[in-house]
Every structure is written in C-alpha cells, then in structure tokens.
Symmetry: C2
Subunit: 255 residues, 2 copies
C-alpha cells in the first residue's frame, strides 16, 4: 500500500505559496517520529479552505510548510451534532475519537440530572478530535461547545433542527424505523443526536424531551449501552441512512 503523506490540521489560512509555521507537537511528529526530510510532502487542512498539499521547509530547527496545490475543495456537507453528558476520561476520549471519525459536526457536553462527572479536560477532548480528523481524512475538526445544562441548551434550540434522543424507557421507535421515516419524507433539516449518562435521562427529563415538537425518542435495542457506545451506534445508524455513507474513501493509490 502506498503511504499517504501525513495530514496536519492548522489554524491559519491556506493560500498558494504561503509559509505555514507548525506547532511544536507537529514538528516533533514530522521530525522525530516520521523522520521526514526537507521537501517531503504533507497535506494541510483548516476546516475552511479545503485540503492542500505542501512541502516541508527546514531552516535549522525551524520547520514550516510551503503551501502548494489545492487537492480537495472544502465540502458543504456536515454531520449531526452530538449532545451527551460528560463521562469519565477514558470513555470521553473514545467518544471524541469515534464521533470525529463518524463525522460529528459539533460536540455539546450537557449536564443532565444523572450526570456524575463534574470536571472534564476539554483541551484533551479537542486534541483527540484533531488527531482523529487528521487520521480519518476529514477536512474539518468538530467544534466543542462549553458544557451547559440540558434545560439551557433546549431554551436556545436552533431552528429547523431535530433532536433524536436515545430513550431506554418509555415508548420509542427503533432508530432504524425513525430515521427511515424522516428519509422518506425527504425534508432537509439539521440534526442533533442525544444520549444520556449511565442511567439515562431522568423521568423529568424524559417528560420534558417528549413534550418538544422537534424531539424524537428512539430505541437502540434491548441491551443497556454505555453512553459512548450509544453515541457511536446512533451516529453510525444516522450516517448510514441520512449521512454521506454513499461516498467512498479517496483512492490515494489511484492519484
């Protein structure tokens, strides 16, 4: 298999012939892990300007990338948001990585009645999302909102946005049937998928969510899924039915 050039997420604008300085961790990775030499090919993306090829320029210990050619334009499409209750460090990292691979557009950490994790390292959550975006061929990195209470999120709910929430109890259509109903109606809208913490949403939250015109309770089967498993499963089903899974990975060998 041909080795693709390393992909790096950068914050600055990408225009032909500009020189992009890298972060220390990126320099360490290119120089000491991959042992790249000056002139080596890398790919750059910033979430706005598409994917660009560039070449490494080294001056003593200073490493930068000279931007060369647009490889892929920035796509319009974006995946659903994910509303979730903060969970422990390990599972939160799994969630950030997998949700990024599965095309989540925004992470919405949300304090619910049964949330028992009060502090999370969102810099770390973001670093994992950046790394996952670099590795999975995404052209952007999911946004991460600061944590907020569930009631506060619902008070400023964006227009034309459905909330699909995993309901372990009470009436709920299986997620496949619920998503297919929407697909058949062929209405364009934005989506947020929501999962509760261990123990799910509280009875009061269930009542509140079920009273919202834009919320759809869905079932994820008879087994009790961990919060991050439910999030990954819901994202997978959403992408396979309403998302971009008709598309194939880029064939880098064919380039």
């Amino acid at each position: 298999m041909t080795k693709s050039p390393p992909r790096l997420f950068v914050n600055c604008s990408l225009t032909p012939d500009s020189l992009i300085s890298l972060q220390n961790s990126q320099i360490h990775y290119l120089k000491n892990v991959l042992r790249l030499q000056p002139g080596a090919l890398v790919s750059l993306f910033n979430g706005r300007d598409g994917e660009w090829s560039g070449s490494l320029a080294m001056d003593l210990n200073l490493i930068s990338v000279k931007v060369e050619k647009l490889q892929r334009p920035q796509p319009d499409s974006s995946g659903p948001g994910l509303l979730f209750a903060p969970i422990k460090k390990g599972p939160m990292e799994v969630l950030s990585q997998k949700a990024t691979e599965l095309g989540v557009s925004i992470l919405l950490p949300t304090i619910t009645d049964f949330t028992d994790v009060t502090r999370s390292n969102y810099d770390r959550v973001r670093a994992i999302a950046v790394e996952a975006a670099e590795q999975c061929d995404r052209l952007n990195v999911p946004l991460i909102e600061p944590p907020k209470k569930l009631i506060e999120r619902l008070q400023v709910w964006p227009e034309n946005t459905k909330l699909l929430f995993a309901a372990e109890s009470g009436l709920a259509k299986p997620i496949d049937a619920a998503l297919r109903d929407v697909k058949d109606k062929n209405i364009l809208m934005d989506w947020v998928l929501a999962v509760g913490p261990a123990g799910g949403f509280s009875p009061a939250e269930h009542e509140m969510l079920r009273g919202l015109s834009y919320a759809i309770p869905v079932g994820l089967g008879p087994r009790l899924l961990k919060a991050e498993t439910a999030a990954i499963a819901a994202l997978s089903c959403w992408q396979s039915i309403l998302g971009d899974w008709e598309n194939r990975p880029i064939d880098r060998n064919g380039e």
Copy 2:
C-alpha cells in the same frame, strides 16, 4: 431510579435452591465495592439457563449465592460474529466491550497481511466481555476463538453464513443498502462481520474475499475508520436492520 441487583456471570448450572460459589473478584466486588449484606438480591446467568434471582449467603468470609427464581428464559436469538485483526491493547479492549454490548456472538481474531500486532491478552479480552455482558443485560458472553490466519478461517467456513466485510477500496455497496437487500429477501442465515487492521485488507485478500460466493463487500462512508470503529459501526448497522433492535430494554422499575 431503582437500583437493579448486580448481575453476575457464572460457569455452573443454575437450578432452584442450588448454592453457587463465586470467584474472588466477584466476592470482592459484592462485599467491598457494593457492601452487600447477607440476603441481598443478585442476578445470575451462565449463557444457557436464563437469568435467575438469588440471595447472598455468607459464612465467615465465604460468600455464595442461593439460586431462587427464574427471571428470564434464555433467548434463542444470537447476533453476528465479528472477524477482526488483532489490534493494540486499548483499542482491543474498546472493541471487546462495545461488541459485547452490541450483541456480538463470537469474536474471531484473525491474522491478515497487514496485521502488525502479534501478541494479545485474550484472557483480558474475555474478562472485559464478561463485565460488559453483566452490565448490559445480556444473558450470555461472546465466545472468543483463538487467533487464526484469514486463509485458515475461510477454509473451514460454516455453511449458510454470510461474510460482510468492510472494503475501503474497490466496489462496495453502502452497508445500509447491502443489509436492506438481504432483509428484503427475507432469507434466514448466519452472519460474520469482518474488518481489516489499519490499512485494511491487502490487495490479495481483497481479491480472495471478492471471489467468495458468501462474501459481501460493504462501504462505511468516505472517512477512514479505525478497525475498532469500523467494527462497532458495522455491528450497529447490522443490529438496527437485521438484529434485535425492535426490542426494548427490560423495564426493571415496572417489575
């Protein structure tokens, strides 16, 4: 929320009034973590006899469970198998846990051309599967086969069993379309879902797999998924379309 009694997986037969001795780790959990007292309610399952309620019997430091009443019969249904290339410790533990929650029936670690992990701790993989089964309300624990080369697995392929494999390159239907085709045909068969290691299946393996009458290549979208993410995503899609996700979790509060 009412706290459900702890669920324990045991290896022995479950019959009314029998006395089940527990493993040290289970005793530690019940006594020192949950601080249960004699007479406390627990649930037991062994993968064969359904789920039984029982009560703790303590004699000095010896803790056993007196089996009392059948709560749920053993279900017939079983999920698909999962063929995967051994991966590093952390991702392998994520895979074992999530695949168990998602109802996998058997884990088939399989050495492929691009597999670069040569030693894995399958006792640990199994311990994680047991814990996940206890927590997610399953009534059995997935089997774990010893690792084998891909070609050897294919040489003794079971009858009437489809192999759905994640193909990052070449022609492949999106997984949703592929699974729906089969559902529409309404044919009963067994399933194994297969994912390659980082880098996917090799060109030679692709050719071999695509030559098999029982194999179906499927696409999981344009992003390159890590092996364990692909496995979790494929299992989620399978369960939502062909599996048991029409069912709901047991309502333990209603009991």
